[in-house]
């Protein structure tokens, strides 16, 4: 009984955290920011946009094309790939052919340095960049015409060293993508707004990072973060250590996740869990405590027959559905309202992935496997043990059982 009450108490604390997140998101979306009518100076310095690419993300063509239609006087786009066999190469060729007047460079260069595949693409792209402002933008984001003009406005303040953007998940058309977008539009957005508003800790979201070349060089360029999984966090931390401000723009960008499978969703969140475990240390505990839905189901495990525990779990789940729906509305995600009903299920899955770093310290990312260490420092994983054998054994059994045309 005491344990039940303890977990219910933790769940109540989690709910209070959700309420604070909700208020922070409300404040974020209500405050006019750069590009939305505030008084920041409007300057339009030229920008080099670096787009690291690997494989075909959902709607890759549309995502990349959105950067060709920016309402901005002068900018270049550098698409960076490791080799021409990457299927994204054909897409960027089509983009370049479609916009011959735009300053587009396709940098195909195999980079041997580092273990972070995104940074491996950024190093040669950065060497080709012409302008002082460097924007790193992931391949799975889609932006509006005012994107660049709204974020460069922050750079008029010389104290600002890095501008990042809030993301919202859009386009979910499969179960994994819906779960991913629900998580982005609730936990991620809520946490980022909460840290920004109440703790004055602006998070750096790697999907969009605008920096000055001088600051980037001062921290050692991309080579300095080539072996970190959380290169965005490290860049933000080091620029902050230089005495520069890290700010969160009010301009929302779309993270397009349309056709994810469940496996990809789980893979990403077990990877992120390991990452936060190695970065956050003791703070990582607060994530589990903040997962009100997961905590509300623990009393049900302790005493399955308890009507009170069942009612409590149902009440917390209902609250979380309403919470996520409200944030989704505020962010104008356009998600089908019925999808919010699976939000508690998503929280339960995320609660389980929280424990993964306890039993494993390897991550799989873009066809590679690494051991993750302090501050998300990567080292190569040479698989020889059971972890390497099991997937092969399972795969072999599956192919034996296949009866239809494989």
């Amino acid at each position: 009984m005491i344990l039940t009450i303890v977990f219910m108490g933790i769940a109540m604390i989690g709910l209070a955290g959700c309420l604070l997140q909700l208020m922070a998101v409300r404040a974020y979306t209500a405050t006019p920011r750069c590009g939305e009518g505030d008084s920041l100076p409007r300057t339009f310095p030229p920008v080099s946009i670096l787009k690291p690419l690997k494989g075909l993300d959902d709607s890759l063509f549309d995502n990349l094309e959105s950067f060709c239609n920016l309402d901005y006087p002068k900018y270049e786009i550098i698409f960076a790939l490791q080799n021409r066999n990457d299927p994204a190469w054909k897409v960027v060729r089509k983009i370049k052919d479609k916009y011959p007047l735009l300053d587009i460079t396709i940098a195909v260069e195999y980079c041997e340095e580092g273990l972070n595949p995104k940074v491996k693409n950024l190093i040669p792209a950065y060497a080709r960049a012409k302008y002082d402002l460097i924007l790193v933008s992931d391949s799975n984001v889609r932006v509006e015409k005012a994107y660049l003009s709204s974020i460069t406005g922050h750079m008029a303040d010389p104290a600002v060293g890095l501008v990042s953007n809030m993301i919202r998940g859009v386009g979910g058309r499969s179960a994994g993508a819906v779960l991913e977008n629900l998580h982005l539009n609730s936990f991620i957005v809520g946490s980022v707004c909460f840290l920004d508003k109440y703790l004055g800790m602006p998070c750096v979201i790697g999907k969009s990072m605008l920096m000055r070349r001088t600051d980037l060089d001062a921290i050692g360029g991309f080579r300095a973060v080539r072996d970190f999984l959380a290169e965005d966090y490290i860049i933000g931390k080091r620029i902050h250590d230089l005495g520069r401000k890290v700010v969160l723009s009010g301009h929302l960008i779309n993270n397009v996740n349309e056709y994810w499978g469940i496996r990809r969703f789980l893979n990403r969140h077990t990877r992120w869990a390991r990452l936060r475990w190695h970065i956050g240390g003791a703070r990582y505990l607060s994530e589990l405590a903040g997962n009100a839905v997961f905590m509300s189901f623990v009393p049900l495990l302790i005493s399955p027959a308890s009507k009170m525990a069942a009612f409590f779990a149902a009440a917390v789940s209902s609250f979380k559905v309403a919470h996520d729906y409200y944030i989704g509305r505020k962010l104008r995600t356009g998600m089908n309202p019925l999808f919010y009903l699976v939000s508690p299920l998503k929280d339960l899955v995320i609660g389980l992935t929280w424990f993964v770093p306890v039993v494993s310290n390897t991550v799989a990312w873009r066809d590679n496997r690494y051991i993750i260490g302090r501050d998300s420092l990567l080292s190569p994983c040479h698989e020889t043990g059971p972890a390497a054998r099991w997937p092969g054994i399972i795969s072999a059994i599956r192919s034996r059982l296949a009866w239809s045309k494989p």
Partner: protein, 230 residues
């Protein structure tokens, strides 16, 4: 050379990928011409009736919507990827025994063709519409498959003159008997899932328009095969 795939299914029949995403998959992969060929299944036996029941078939009722959607996506594919999208169907005459079963592609179809018509009637109707007729997976497929469709091959003496081309390769299967008979050939993926993109394909040496492509396949000059891999 045009990189082509003329045998693609979407969620209009038993494919797992909806039309819009299929177009984006092929467009981003750099294809020049594709044909969307969802099943039109014969409804005159229990197997066919099940297919209709579970909506694994284009029907007379939704044919106009199917064609309209393909036309709409064809416009988008051309604007975005410069990829030609040709409407088609796969007439699927399914029976319990492989010897009686046959599938054939009707490429550049205009009007609905019911699969319960006789083979002769189907070929005549296809010719009337100036559509291309292709015999699909005409010989024994891989051992894992129990869905062989042998009728057209077994009756080739009778029907070969009506058939514009034969699938010499379908996804991972290669039918070298087509080569031995010197029949006109193409190779297709029989796309149902995204992984099927990586399979046998056709290369055509012709202009990128529907008439040139049909002419190239019928004359079977400037046609080559390629195993498309990621």
């Amino acid at each position: 050379m045009l990189l082509c795939d003329f045998h693609i299914h979407t969620t209009y029949s038993d494919g797992s990928v909806e039309l819009r995403r299929t177009i984006d998959l092929y467009g981003q992969a750099g294809f020049d011409a594709i044909a969307i060929t969802d099943h039109v299944v014969n409804g005159d036996n229990p197997i066919g009736r099940l297919a209709h029941r579970f909506r694994y078939s284009v029907t007379r009722e939704n044919f106009a919507a199917y064609m309209g959607h393909i036309r709409e996506e064809a416009g988008r594919a051309w604007d975005k990827y410069r990829m030609l999208v040709i409407p088609g169907v796969e007439i699927s005459k399914n029976h319990l025994t492989p010897d009686k079963s046959a599938h054939m592609l009707i490429i550049d179809v205009h009007d609905f063709i019911p699969a319960c018509m006789s083979f002769e009637e189907i070929f005549v109707e296809a010719k009337r519409q100036n559509a291309l007729t292709v015999a699909c997976h005409p010989h024994y497929m891989s051992a894992a498959s129990d869905r062989n469709t042998l009728f057209l091959w077994n009756n080739r003496e009778k029907y070969a003159r009506y058939i514009d081309a034969w699938e010499i390769a379908n996804r991972d299967d290669v039918f070298n008997v087509i080569s031995l008979k010197k029949y006109p050939y193409i190779a297709n993926s029989d796309f149902h899932k995204p992984r099927h993109l990586y399979s046998w394909k056709t290369l055509l040496n012709c202009e990128k328009d529907t008439d040139s492509i049909k002419r190239c396949i019928r004359h079977n000059k400037g046609v080559a095969l390629t195993l498309f891999r990621n």
